[in-house]
């Protein structure tokens, strides 16, 4: 049977707003996060090969680039956590007004950076 459902308009026809930016960023970070999780699965699998094979990954993560990548992953997860909370609140029927979506979208962007710093400090045991 032929599917006559309309396709979503492509990104270049959108006029950019905070809400569309957050929505598209949520999809992009979602895809980045699952790719990162897949790489972490490969990393865990490499542990089976023994300690000598693990050293390459260890050297990478101890480098400046490795730390930068780790912080980038932390931001990507932070953004998705906050954006999913925003979506769940909207699913309950709150925050659909244009002004409110702009405010919550801006809050997601700002707090994703704050949460990244908090998670990094917590994970490195600088706090608690």
């Amino acid at each position: 049977m032929e599917n006559n459902n309309p396709l979503s308009p492509h990104l270049q026809v959108y006029k950019w707003h905070i809400s569309s930016l957050v929505s598209i960023a949520t999809r992009i970070t979602g895809i980045i996060n699952i790719l990162v999780i897949t790489l972490i699965c490969i990393w865990f699998a490499s542990l089976l090969l023994g300690e000598s094979n693990y050293k390459i990954i260890n050297i990478f993560f101890q480098s400046f680039l490795g730390k930068f990548v780790a912080i980038g992953i932390t931001w990507s997860f932070s953004f998705q956590i906050l954006s999913e909370i925003r979506h769940l609140i909207m699913d309950l029927g709150y925050g659909f007004e244009i002004k409110t979506t702009n405010i919550t979208g801006t809050l997601v962007i700002i707090f994703s950076f704050i949460l990244t710093v908090l998670i990094y400090l917590l994970g490195r045991q600088f706090i608690l």
Binding site: T38, C41, F44, L47, L48, G66, K67, G123, Q125
Partner: protein
């Protein structure tokens, strides 16, 4: 219940479960990403991290398969390509966490 409603419910329930798991995972990732071999094996083979990592992987791939399939439905016009892409996605979403969980449970042996 209509299939789309069921899919939406699964997406929301998995999202709700995934939020605390993502927070737990990313805090632990930050704490272990530059640790040595023994420390990472110790972390992965001890409880409750073994249980939470396994649960996190299952829910994360389940949620991602549902949400990425939505992107395919929104942007792929050709039915055959769309169905093939969704089937491949579902197979990958079962295969990768399953293999990784087996590996984690065999690490300490």
């Amino acid at each position: 219940m209509r299939p789309v409603t069921k899919k939406w419910l699964f997406l929301k329930i998995s999202s709700l479960i995934l939020i605390p798991l993502m927070l737990w995972f990313i805090i632990n990732f930050v704490s272990f990403y530059d640790k040595n071999y023994q420390e990472i094996v110790k972390f992965l083979t001890s409880q409750p991290s073994k249980f939470f990592i396994s649960l996190f992987l299952v829910i994360a791939y389940f949620f991602s398969a549902l949400s990425i399939s939505e992107v395919f439905e929104d942007y792929i016009d050709d039915e055959k390509i769309k169905n093939a892409a969704i089937k491949t996605l579902n197979i990958v979403a079962i295969f990768i966490p399953l293999i990784t969980i087996i590996i984690i449970f065999n690490l300490g042996l």
